[in-house]
């Protein structure tokens, strides 16, 4: 028997429902009167899940890096060895998937044949088929993917930054793994990981568009076996508060140095609502510190230390196993940019935040929250974090409105500690400065 609970936001003029039933994944249906319908299955299984107790086993096992991503690639083959992309294509549905640190997400959008495509997606996720020959072929494809990323200086810079920030947490390892680690993957290992993580209690289903929510649960029941398995037991890494290195470099084919500044934080609240609050505060704070309207960017630009805006983000997974701020760009002298950034943030901690800046940047974050409700794709993906956290996505707006300048100042001083700042640089080849 399903329970259907509706959530509404009168200010946004939007609503959605959550359909729950024992032993079935939680289903979220967000009605949207657009031409396309978007559906996804988000499995709480990502690259950081490399040490865990397999379903029914007493001991932890550690798997090679890159298994979650490899598994995602191999899920697009059916029992007869056929490419499932072709089945989606035959329905006019555009399907794809991605793997990140804490999740694997399978999705499609379509303008017709929704029920068939949705059934296909669910069936695919629940019914894997791995053979030696397919695994061997996939190793060749993923090797090319790894090589492609190895040529992208921003990606290299980012990966090195995480490795310099984290001692033991697997976020320090590339989602794809390495050519050597994926060579160890076998069909048996993929089946073990699938059995452990692809259970009803460890995934959510989200649909946004014109859809009959009553039919959705029926299609789920027809394609995903009911499962009483709880969330798998993951190994809890004891990550030290200190960073590994303050500066790390590599060399690649770049016109001028590429840099990323990371600020690590291991003091993470266990409460999901507190983490949401921190997430929103960080969006306001990072805007204030790094945006093109801010003092830091403009002083660096005017002094010709940077020529393009920072890319910046606060990254934290809903499970709360890591959180950090990263700001990146390119500069002839990344060390000077790093030094000025650290000085600016330290000074900001001392002098406090300007109230007008805080209010303006909060307005920006609020506007972005409102703006994302135009797209079925953005809505569906935005709902994954709240669904994993077990909170209502519409809570974001009132929580944001309740934040104060003082909240931001407290977080600023608690989080942005100078000894937690790390600089990663990718230098041009041949430049040995």
């Amino acid at each position: 028997m399903s329970e259907v609970k509706w959530f509404e936001s009168p200010t946004l003029g939007e609503r959605y429902c959550k359909i729950t039933s024992p032993r079935r994944p939680a289903i979220y249906v967000f009605p949207k009167d657009l031409t396309n319908t978007y559906a996804l299955v988000a499995v709480k299984y990502g690259s950081v899940d490399r040490k865990f107790k397999p379903d029914g086993k007493a001991d932890f096992i550690e798997v090679p890096d890159g298994v979650a991503h490899f598994l995602e690639h191999r899920m697009f083959t059916d029992e007869d060895g056929n490419d499932i992309f072709e089945h989606f294509a035959a329905l006019g549905a555009d399907a794809n998937a991605y793997t990140s640190y804490d999740r694997t997400v399978y999705y499609f959008n379509c303008t017709e044949n929704f029920e068939e495509a949705f059934g296909l997606l669910l069936h695919m996720v629940a019914h894997p088929c791995f053979t030696d020959e397919q695994v061997s072929r996939e190793q060749g494809i993923i090797e090319q993917e790894i090589r492609m990323y190895d040529d992208e200086p921003e990606d290299v810079c980012y990966q090195n930054l995480l490795a310099a920030m984290y001692h033991v947490h697997p976020v320090r390892v590339n989602v794809c793994g390495t050519v050597a680690s994926i060579a160890k993957i076998t069909p048996g290992l993929l089946y073990d990981c699938h059995r452990t993580f692809y259970s009803a209690g460890n995934m959510v289903i989200i649909i946004c568009g014109r859809v009959d929510y009553g039919r959705v649960a029926e299609i789920v029941d027809a394609n995903i076996p009911l499962s009483g398995a709880a969330e798998p037991l993951r190994f809890a890494y004891e990550e030290p508060a200190e960073v590994v290195l303050r500066r790390v470099t590599a060399r690649r084919q770049v016109s001028k140095p590429v840099f990323a500044i990371g600020i690590k934080n291991t003091d993470i609240s266990p409460d999901p609502v507190a983490r949401l609050r921190e997430h929103l505060l960080q969006r306001v704070l990072t805007r204030m510190i790094f945006a093109t309207s801010g003092e830091l960017y403009n002083s660096l630009y005017d002094k010709e230390l940077i020529t393009a805006p920072f890319a910046y983000s606060y990254d934290a997974v809903p499970s709360g196993s890591f959180s950090h701020v990263i700001a990146s760009g390119s500069a002839e002298n990344p060390d000077k940019v790093f030094e000025r950034t650290a000085e600016y943030i330290t000074a900001l901690c001392r002098r406090g935040i300007d109230k007008a800046d805080f209010e303006r940047c909060r307005r920006v974050v609020l506007s972005r929250i409102i703006g994302r409700f135009d797209s079925t794709e953005r809505i569906a993906h935005s709902m994954i974090d709240p669904a994993f956290r077990g909170i209502d996505i519409f809570e974001e707006q009132p929580v944001l409105e309740g934040l104060t300048k003082e909240d931001a100042e407290m977080l600023l001083c608690r989080f942005y500690k100078e000894d937690k700042f790390v600089l990663s640089v990718v230098l041009p080849k041949g430049d040995h400065s």
Binding site: T35, N36, D150, R251, Y301, A308, S330, R360, R363
Partner: protein
């Protein structure tokens, strides 16, 4: 979807798709200019300088803060090639007045008019020298940074080969940027401002007449405009294939092949729709011939796809491969093209490509940016702007039409960027 056109003045018009579906709306402003050395470096640079400050918001910080106050409105400059022409201008996106209960559109129009007509200048009336120099530096950095992304680098080199001698084959050089002065840039900016015909495009809930009224008030007629400038979409001609290769110290090689299509550019002819579908079956989707064969069957690459540049009548095939797989990859690309030319297209391939195209065109109305992207080119060329018409026409394409379209596809250039070893070992400090 109904596209309305309203004349604002002898030097401007407004295209409007009136819709209340979106919380976020768009207003773009574009001018069509000649493409090539001399003017293009200036035309790509001055909009960047204009966005650094206006008479009323003279610093970059004050201008960006004004945008943030307008509920995170964004105004970005949008210089790009449009066939053999250059399109310059700005695109603004912003929340609708209704979503925030405030007159955001009026604020955006006022700011856009200030940026275009009243930029911050020095005491001599020139665009400020320090801002010009900083923008030049940023542009030079962007040109140099092309090597950071080898896929883009290789694609641009292939474009230069396919379109050699045509405006579309031109790329701005660092030397050209270095030569720009504040006086020269100001002179060019004023000339464009006073002579260019502006096309505005608004997608949002405000009635078209009201938007036109606001724009007419903010943008007086340009004093020297001689009328609308139509873009030049002369197709690239067929020719003897050109081959070029280079190497870089990277891990993965890039192979880009450029094919002419017998002059098949953007139009409303049945042959054009057949070419769109041919490109889709060739390499447009994960079920296309290139993806299925090069990646899935032969494991030669992580990506391999075809892109139809319909304003020049060129199909580009791009892939990331091992250096040693060059011959195998190019042979397979040509073999799959032969399959297409021979009409060896299964019903499943045709249906998948058709459904993919139909699915994506039906969704155009679901996003203001998709509407802008779909309607702008058609609006500039005076073509029908209805996705329904496109879908209807493409559904009429047969396998025989695709075979005939594929027969027009000719290899024109091949650029290969070999990989001679990737990253050096990291040196932790």
């Amino acid at each position: 979807m109904n596209l309305q056109e309203i004349k604002i003045s002898d030097s401007a018009r407004l295209l409007v798709v009136e819709t209340d579906k979106f919380k976020k709306n768009i207003l773009s402003m574009s001018a069509i200019l000649p493409l090539g050395p001399g003017t293009t470096p200036l035309d790509l640079l001055f909009p960047k300088v204009l966005l650094r400050g206006t008479a009323s918001c003279p610093t970059n910080a004050s201008l960006k803060k004004r945008l943030e106050e307008l509920y995170d409105a964004r105004i970005v400059e949008s210089g790009s090639y449009f066939g053999n022409s250059l399109k310059i201008g700005f695109t603004a996106d912003f929340l609708s007045d209704r979503a925030v209960g405030s007159p955001v559109l009026e604020g955006v129009i006022k700011l856009l008019a200030d940026i275009w007509q009243r930029p911050a200048v020095d005491e001599s009336g020139l665009l400020r020298g320090n801002e010009v120099n900083l923008a030049k530096r940023a542009m030079r950095d962007a040109i140099r940074a092309e090597i950071n992304n080898t896929a883009v680098y290789a694609a641009n080199r292939c474009r230069e080969l396919v379109c050699a001698g045509e405006p579309h084959g031109y790329s701005v050089t660092e030397a050209e940027v270095e030569e720009i002065t504040a006086a020269g840039l100001t002179e060019r900016y004023k000339k464009v401002r006073d002579s260019a015909y502006l096309t505005f495009f608004y997608i949002g809930p405000k009635p078209a007449g009201k938007v036109a009224e606001l724009l007419a008030g903010a943008f007086p007629p340009a004093s020297c405009c001689t009328g609308m400038q139509r873009p030049d979409i002369t197709p690239s001609p067929d020719g003897v294939p050109e081959y070029k290769e280079a190497s870089m110290p990277v891990s993965q090689a890039k192979l880009v092949m450029g094919f002419t299509t017998g002059g098949m550019v953007f139009s409303d002819s049945p042959e054009y729709y057949a070419m769109c579908l041919a490109a889709e079956i060739f390499g447009g989707t994960p079920s296309s011939k290139l993806f299925v064969n090069l990646r899935e069957r032969l494991s030669l690459c992580y990506y391999c796809g075809a892109y139809y540049e319909n304003l020049k009548g060129i199909i580009y095939v791009s892939s990331g491969i091992d250096t040693k797989s060059r011959e195998a990859a190019r042979a397979e690309v040509l073999a799959q093209l032969d399959e297409l030319r021979a009409g060896h297209i299964t019903t499943a391939e045709l249906d998948a490509a058709l459904l993919s195209v139909v699915n994506s065109y039906r969704q155009i109305e679901d996003s203001p940016y998709s509407i802008l992207s779909f309607c702008f080119g058609r609006g500039m060329l005076g073509l029908d702007c209805s996705p329904e018409n496109f879908i209807k026409r493409i559904k009429q394409v047969t396998i025989d039409d695709i075979k005939k379209a594929a027969e027009r596809i000719r290899l024109r250039a091949e650029y290969f960027l070999a990989a001679r070893g990737g990253g050096e070992a990291e040196c932790d400090e």
